[in-house]
């Protein structure tokens, strides 16, 4: 009877566990296995190469590390520009101000759109020959600012980063706003009674109480932005000449372009470990910041 009841309980989790085992756990294990092999993904024979794939990543694959730096630059812009905008707008919408629900509604439209849609629309706006941006620059009498925004090596990466920030600031905005709304009004009233001005209460109340929220936003921004690549595929395809390549695009290229499945998995492991290390450091750093 007891046994039958336990069995019955397993039935509840069985579908979830099965799907999870097949589509998450098995691929997870295979990533680590395949990373040690040289394999084109088609032939039944795989050649065991030990850590050669990793050696190649570390000592020969300059494009891989370049793509890591590119993703780092996009992430830097997301952390500074995007999150600063998000915080500023959250502060603005946390006031007693008309239309604030309307603004909140609009600011989260870019995040719900797909990266493909956003990427292709912006690609059209930024097109070097027929794009609206260059058209406006000419009309405004600024033809020397006209660029091939997405195919000029000097501007491509930063342009992509700014579009990424356009798409992403709504997340930070919503989280910051929710965080600001949890700060009790009494804190500010008490501060005012004690003679504090707006700047004082911002520095002494808002900032300290928002540190944990900012850390959460920062971790999510880093994890999300480092792994972003669909937007980039849609805008530049990784070009011009690797200038907007990012790690996930490289993994995809190793797999689909050069049919090196083992190497692609090794790149995946390498990147996954780097991401975990970054979020761990951020977490430790934030705990330290909170304790002091």
């Amino acid at each position: 009877m007891r046994f039958k009841a336990t069995l019955e309980n397993y039935v509840f989790v069985l579908p979830a566990v099965l799907i999870f085992l097949i589509f998450y756990v098995i691929p997870f294990i295979w990533v680590f296995q395949l990373g040690l092999f040289d394999w084109d993904g088609i032939l039944p024979t795989k050649t065991f190469v030990g850590l050669d794939n990793f050696k190649e990543i570390f000592f020969q694959d300059k494009i891989w590390w370049q793509s890591m730096l590119n993703a780092g630059w996009i992430t830097f812009i997301a952390l500074t520009l995007q999150n600063a905008v998000a915080f500023l707008l959250a502060m603005a919408c946390n006031r007693e101000i008309k239309l604030k629900h309307f603004y909140r509604l609009i600011f989260f439209i870019p995040p719900v759109l797909s990266e493909v849609v956003v990427g292709l629309v912006w690609q059209w706006i930024l097109d070097g020959n027929y794009g609206l941006l260059n058209g406006w620059l000419v009309q405004l009498g600024l033809p020397n600012l006209v660029r091939n925004w997405l195919s000029d090596p000097n501007t491509a990466l930063t342009t992509v980063a700014i579009v990424h920030s356009w798409k992403g600031f709504g997340w930070g905005f919503l989280i910051f706003l929710a965080g600001l709304q949890t700060i009790p009004r009494e804190f500010y009233e008490a501060a005012r009674v004690d003679g504090a001005n707006a700047w004082d209460s911002f520095r002494k109340i808002t900032i300290p109480l928002m540190v944990p929220v900012a850390v959460l936003v920062a971790i999510l921004t880093v994890l999300g932005t480092m792994q972003a690549f669909v937007l980039i595929t849609a805008m530049t395809g990784g070009g011009p000449a690797y200038h907007t390549q990012v790690p996930v695009l490289r993994i995809l290229a190793s797999m689909r372009g050069s049919s090196r499945f083992g190497y692609a998995c090794a790149q995946g492991i390498n990147f996954g470990l780097i991401l975990m290390a970054i979020s761990f450091i951020q977490y430790r750093f934030s705990r330290k910041a909170r304790n002091t």
Partner: protein
């Protein structure tokens, strides 16, 4: 001594500056979409010369062309099919599991739950490589089922987490009453727990629907067959094939974006709730 009028006018000035900033950002958010729709109504001849914001003539036939000739009608139906199937699958499978994790007793429960939660934390950026191999072996590549199962898996962990958190807070009395009446465990899940979970189910539905509708990379590695492709994949392929057919591309983009915007406007309460509960980051 500063007067009340001084403070009032200062407040009005500050608010005006803030509104200016917010309106500027609002325009920045909406303008690309406006330009997308505007471009979708121009023709191949005029689109490269005509930078007017509102087209001189409205060529709605672009939408018919995109829908029929461009194949977006089929891709649209594919996207609908995948989204509905995946969301239905997640609702059933995740809520069964979440209910068990919250209420039922069985050996290994904590370990299994921990496994799902760990999956939310650990990033595996290259997981699509072995997934491709696995699906090929199972003969699930180029099948709707393969894509649907993969996408169910993608949404499973967060959905289980959200639902379990909700069930944990639910009082036991209602379920006890149902049990007294001779309701089976499955019956309690279906007749008592699920209906009570409606608010959180709405969050699960909206987030997973957005996620499936907008998904690209799994669709890229799973489908070579045009007839099975969802919209996002088809858009990228269309762009590769018809590099400069911008009016049709923009019509395709509008067809893709419109349902999402409508769903968002209708369900935005649940989206805000999901984001701010801090658990949903895919």
């Amino acid at each position: 001594m500063r007067t009340i009028a001084y403070y009032k006018s200062k407040k009005i000035a500050v608010n005006a500056i803030i509104h200016l900033l917010l309106i500027a950002v609002t325009i920045t958010c909406l303008f690309p979409l406006f330009w997308m729709v505007s471009s979708s109504l121009k023709t191949q001849e005029t689109i490269f010369k005509d930078m007017s914001l509102i087209p001189r003539e409205f060529h709605f036939e672009n939408y018919i062309l995109a829908w029929r000739e461009g194949g977006f009608g089929r891709y649209f139906l594919n996207s609908i099919l995948y989204t509905v199937s995946v969301v239905a699958g997640i609702i059933i499978i995740a809520s069964l599991a979440a209910y068990a994790f919250s209420r039922l007793r069985f050996p290994g429960k904590n370990f299994l739950f921990f496994m799902f939660m760990a999956a939310m934390m650990i990033p595996i950026p290259g997981s699509f490589v072995p997934l491709y191999v696995l699906l090929s072996k199972l003969h699930l590549r180029n099948t709707a089922l393969g894509y649907i199962l993969c996408m169910v898996n993608v949404g499973l962990s967060t959905s289980i987490f959200l639902l379990k958190t909700f069930f944990d807070k639910l009082p036991l009395e209602l379920e006890d009453a149902a049990r007294m009446d001779g309701c089976s465990k499955l019956g309690i899940w279906w007749h008592v727990a699920l209906p009570l979970a409606k608010p959180v189910l709405a969050v699960v539905v909206v987030f997973n629907a957005l996620n499936v509708w907008n998904e690209y990379v799994l669709a890229l590695i799973i489908f070579d067959n045009k007839n099975l492709m969802p919209l996002q994949r088809a858009l990228m392929m269309f762009r590769g094939e018809f590099l400069t057919d911008y009016p049709l591309l923009m019509a395709g983009l509008t067809i893709t974006a419109l349902p999402i915007i409508i769903v968002y406007l209708l369900m935005q309460k649940y989206i805000v709730k999901g984001v701010t509960s801090g658990a949903l980051f895919g």
